[in-house]
């Protein structure tokens, strides 16, 4: 229990009144560990930002609790919480210089001048903006503004840093750089990071654990590998990466696809009857037809993507399935439309979904 930093307990947040009430958060409970890089991932409107704002204190939950280090902080104002936020819009103070922006929180805490100065210097070094200390924030590029926002939020040494889609305004190259930078900062400072994003790749590459959200509920919490390889439901499987959904039946622990092929799959959990099986396209390989342990399939079409080739196939009963094949050096995978092939599913790739 002592390694829990932030906890939401049955948090509900409803907006609107009467018939038009929208439950932005619907009974969410989550425990975020100390020093962890935790990502809230979901499409827009899933409630991830609302949960972040509850933790920051900008919103009060309709019911439920927010705890920090085991203490109830639900009713605590934002300026009384040792939690700082990096805003999507950065929200830098336009009338202050970079250094004054970074020192703002410390000053408001009433820290002595010398400490404000030395911490600001340290933060400037941490985000590599020493040369910009005296500039107005409007004179900075997007990436630099982002780093000022980070330094400003880190300067008061909060117990938890909240990041609300901080990278969404940056172009791709800068975003990749900042992802590395953020991860480095988190490891260096040891502060608990709670990161909100709708970008699944960002979530997978940076996080220790991910909470996937949809419709105000947390669908699954787990490490990136867990979430990707063992999604609990259709939403999680489809939101993160590409995947195939195949109708199947389970009988006595044996999974039979609608095409009649019997396969081994994880996540059966004693289910029986009609289920959906998912498998990632990159876990499928083509073999010559009728090889043992393969499914019979027909090549329908393919698209060349450079690093790999997406091949659309039909199973025996016409079920569509996509395989992502690594492109050979020549670029020509030798695919022939209408050709009969065998389809091998990598061990452990097939998962039975909860719904």
């Amino acid at each position: 229990m002592s390694d829990i930093s932030v906890e939401a307990r049955n948090a509900v947040k409803a907006f609107g009144q009467g018939a038009s009430v929208v439950r932005a958060l619907d009974d969410v409970s989550v425990q975020i560990r100390k020093g962890e890089f935790f990502t809230l991932l979901g499409p827009s409107g899933c409630g991830k930002t609302t949960l972040l704002r509850l933790i920051a204190g900008f919103e009060m939950p309709t019911s439920g609790y927010i705890l920090l280090d085991g203490q109830d902080i639900t009713d605590l104002a934002p300026n009384k919480r040792p939690v700082n936020t990096v805003f999507q819009s950065y929200a830098l103070f336009p009338h202050l210089t970079v250094a004054q922006n970074i020192g703002f929180g410390l000053e408001m805490q009433g820290k002595p001048r010398a400490e404000v100065f030395s911490t600001t210097e340290r933060m400037l070094a941490l985000v590599k903006l020493e040369a910009m200390a005296g500039r107005k924030t409007s004179q900075l590029s997007g990436g630099q503004q982002q780093r000022v926002a980070l330094a400003r939020a880190l300067a008061p040494q909060p117990k938890v840093l909240l990041l609300d889609e901080p990278l969404s305004a940056l172009d791709l190259k800068l975003r990749k750089e900042m992802q590395v930078e953020l991860k480095r900062l988190q490891l260096e400072t040891g502060i608990t990071f709670i990161f909100v994003t709708h970008d699944q790749e960002e979530a997978l590459t940076m996080s220790d654990r991910i909470g996937v959200m949809q419709s105000g509920k947390i669908q699954q919490i787990g490490g990136p590998v867990d979430i990707y390889t063992r999604p609990v439901n259709r939403f999680v499987a489809s939101f993160i990466g590409e995947t195939n959904f195949l109708p199947a039946t389970v009988q006595g622990g044996i999974v039979t696809l609608s095409s009649g092929d019997k396969i081994t799959a994880g996540g059966i959990d004693g289910r029986s009857g009609a289920v959906t099986v998912t498998m990632r396209p990159e876990q499928l390989r083509l073999t010559p037809p009728d090889e043992p342990g393969t499914l019979n399939a027909t090549i329908a079409s393919w698209v060349y993507f450079g690093t790999d080739t997406h091949c659309n196939l039909h199973l025996a009963d016409g079920t569509e399935i996509v395989a992502r094949l690594q492109s050979p050096a020549s670029g020509d995978a030798g695919l022939i439309k209408g050709a009969k092939v065998g389809l091998r599913i990598a061990d452990g790739a097939a998962q039975v979904l909860g719904d």
């Binding site: 920051a56 204190g57 900008f58 104002a77 934002p78 300026n79 009384k80 939690v83 700082n84 936020t85 805003f87 819009s89 929200a91 830098l92 103070f93 336009p94 009338h95 202050l96 210089t97 004054q100 703002f104 929180g105 000053e107 408001m108 805490q109 400003r152 939020a153 008061p156």
Partner: protein
């Protein structure tokens, strides 16, 4: 090519002059010209029945601060004049302060309404402009005079036994000027607050700022151009106010505007009136200079 460009440039310049000619004419003959006359008059000698006679004299300017003894002609500091100047500056500054204290929350309220409601609120703010200033001031007179609405009600309720002297005091002038100039404070404040990014409040609040600190360290510095503009817009006309102090201040509580009018009227001292007018102009220009400084060069060091 270059000849063609030159021709085009020349034509542009000619068009520019032609287009600005009406404004320039108006400014020359309606603003600069009369001012020049006032300036000249301030250096002349008063005529017996008003107007001026064409003899050069410093008396107009000297008369701003000193009065000449009628018997021995010695100069003495004119306390009455100083009192009037001091009252003018004091009342104008107080009016500016009160309109700011009242106007800031008002402007904030309007700026934070949904966009569709904002127009309605701004419209309401401008309603007082629909009525003539004299009528509005007389209306205040009607409320606060000895037999006026306020005193009558208080008497009837038995709160007071005899009417309170409200009219013909500095307080009455202050109330009147605050009422008249409030919209001039609210409108520029609204414009500044409207541009203010409310997300900065969350950022400040998140960074341990109290509400007072947010106001002082985030809101005020950022909306400062609006505060300065509103203050100038109130202070300048308040300093030269004529109608309000005349009606609500009576003859005793004169401000510069009334004092100038007196010189051109009963005082029959046009040079002094002209010199006072120029003085007022200088004060206003100084105030505007401060405004330009404050709204452009924002290089004040910060904690």
């Amino acid at each position: 090519m270059s000849a063609r460009e030159d021709k085009a440039r020349l034509e542009n310049a000619r068009n520019g002059w032609a287009l600005s000619a009406p404004a320039l004419l108006v400014l020359t003959f309606a603003a600069a010209g009369p001012l020049l006359i006032v300036l000249v008059y301030s250096f002349l000698t008063p005529g017996t029945y008003g107007n001026v006679v064409g003899t050069f004299s410093w008396d107009g300017w000297v008369g701003i601060l000193f009065s000449r003894d009628i018997f021995d002609g010695t100069l003495a500091l004119a306390d009455a004049h100083l009192t009037i100047f001091w009252r003018s500056v004091k009342l104008s500054l107080l009016t500016t302060l009160i309109t700011f204290v009242v106007g800031f929350p008002t402007a904030w309220f309007i700026a934070t309404r949904p966009p569709r409601q904002r127009a309605m609120w701004l419209f309401l703010i401008t309603i007082p402009f629909w009525t003539n200033l004299l009528i509005r001031t007389l209306a205040i007179n009607e409320i606060i005079r000895a037999e006026g609405l306020l005193n009558t009600i208080l008497l009837k309720l038995g709160v007071i036994e005899s009417p309170i002297q409200m009219i013909y005091t500095d307080g009455a002038v202050l109330v009147g000027m605050t009422y008249v100039y409030l919209p001039l404070m609210v409108l520029p404040l609204f414009a500044a607050i409207d541009r203010f990014d409310m997300r900065l409040l969350e950022a400040g609040y998140d960074l341990y700022a109290s509400r007072i600190a947010l106001l002082r360290r985030v809101i005020f510095p950022i909306v400062r151009p609006g505060i300065v503009a509103g203050s100038i817009l109130v202070f300048v006309p308040a300093l030269g106010a004529y109608v309000t102090p005349r009606i609500l201040g009576g003859g005793k509580n004169m401000m510069i505007g009334n004092f100038i009018e007196l010189q051109f009227g009963q005082g029959r001292n046009w040079p002094l009136g002209a010199a006072l007018s120029m003085l007022l102009l200088v004060i206003v220009m100084a105030a505007l200079l401060i405004y330009v400084r404050a709204s452009t060069g924002s290089k004040t060091p910060h904690g």
